[in-house]
Symmetry: C2
Subunit: 155 residues, 2 copies
């Protein structure tokens, strides 16, 4: 069901805009989730976790990894255990601290993430294929103003 259809005319334009933005975000996310599931039997939190590790070749401690995760709702320890079981990540000791460890991608994990990231990029490009270059630019600028106002005035 389409949430936009439920907004009555007495509601402000901003509410209609917000519901449309939420719809767009949910459509794209749903598409990404479906692709990860169908092509790799994977999930968005797993992809997100691997993306964070890909940017940290020496690996990350668990607390740092949790902090960087963009997708909420993922159980970082549980996902790490899963990925370790599949040989995609490994735990390595932190020098000088016997109780601490870092998590990093294995060679196999790095290879799988590279393929996933390329597919992910393709899905995103396709998601916005209804806009021409000028429209893409305008949308980027306007969302930039939303973000800037939010960070300066609200958050």
């Amino acid at each position: 069901m389409d949430q936009e259809a439920r907004v009555h005319s007495e509601h402000p334009d901003e509410l209609r805009l917000w519901l449309r933005m939420l719809t767009c975000t949910q459509l794209v996310e749903k598409d990404i989730r479906a692709g990860l599931r169908e092509q790799w039997g994977s999930t968005l939190p797993r992809f997100d976790l691997m993306a964070q590790l890909e940017r940290a070749p020496e690996g990350l401690r668990m607390n740092e990894l949790s902090r960087r995760m963009m997708v909420t709702g993922g159980n970082v320890t549980g996902i790490t255990d899963q990925l370790e079981g599949e040989g995609l990540v490994e735990r390595v000791e932190v020098e000088g601290d016997r109780r601490a460890f870092r998590v990093r991608l294995t060679t196999q994990g790095r290879r799988q993430f590279k393929a996933m990231a390329a597919a992910h990029e393709g899905w995103i490009v396709e998601a916005f294929a209804g806009l021409n270059a000028g429209e893409l630019h305008t949308l980027h600028q306007l969302l930039g103003k939303v973000k800037q106002h939010f960070l300066q005035e609200i958050a």
Copy 2:
């Protein structure tokens, strides 16, 4: 940490746009969640469930209620039990079917939802206050094109 900052220049504009859209959506949602929690000790799934019931004065069966929920991750039965315990919703028998029931808002639930919806609207208006009327309109139009392309070509 800002996910946009992590996109390298070799990535397509669409990826930058997607991450910015995701950031905006997450900022607004985080603000709504904080407001619901601080002012009513409530959550987005609870608000969403009450919003569905507000649109169905005779109430909804559980399966219909689940289907209409916009926010994922909520356990509909668990939330309904909670809200019932607080006197905000009630279960009513379905005529002619002893095993079925509908859930509907109580008078108190309707009153609370009305106050929450007004606050929610205010937060959304404030979230987009960085845009003038013309920019709001353009953003709405461009997101409409994204949505339309998605529904016609992808979903």
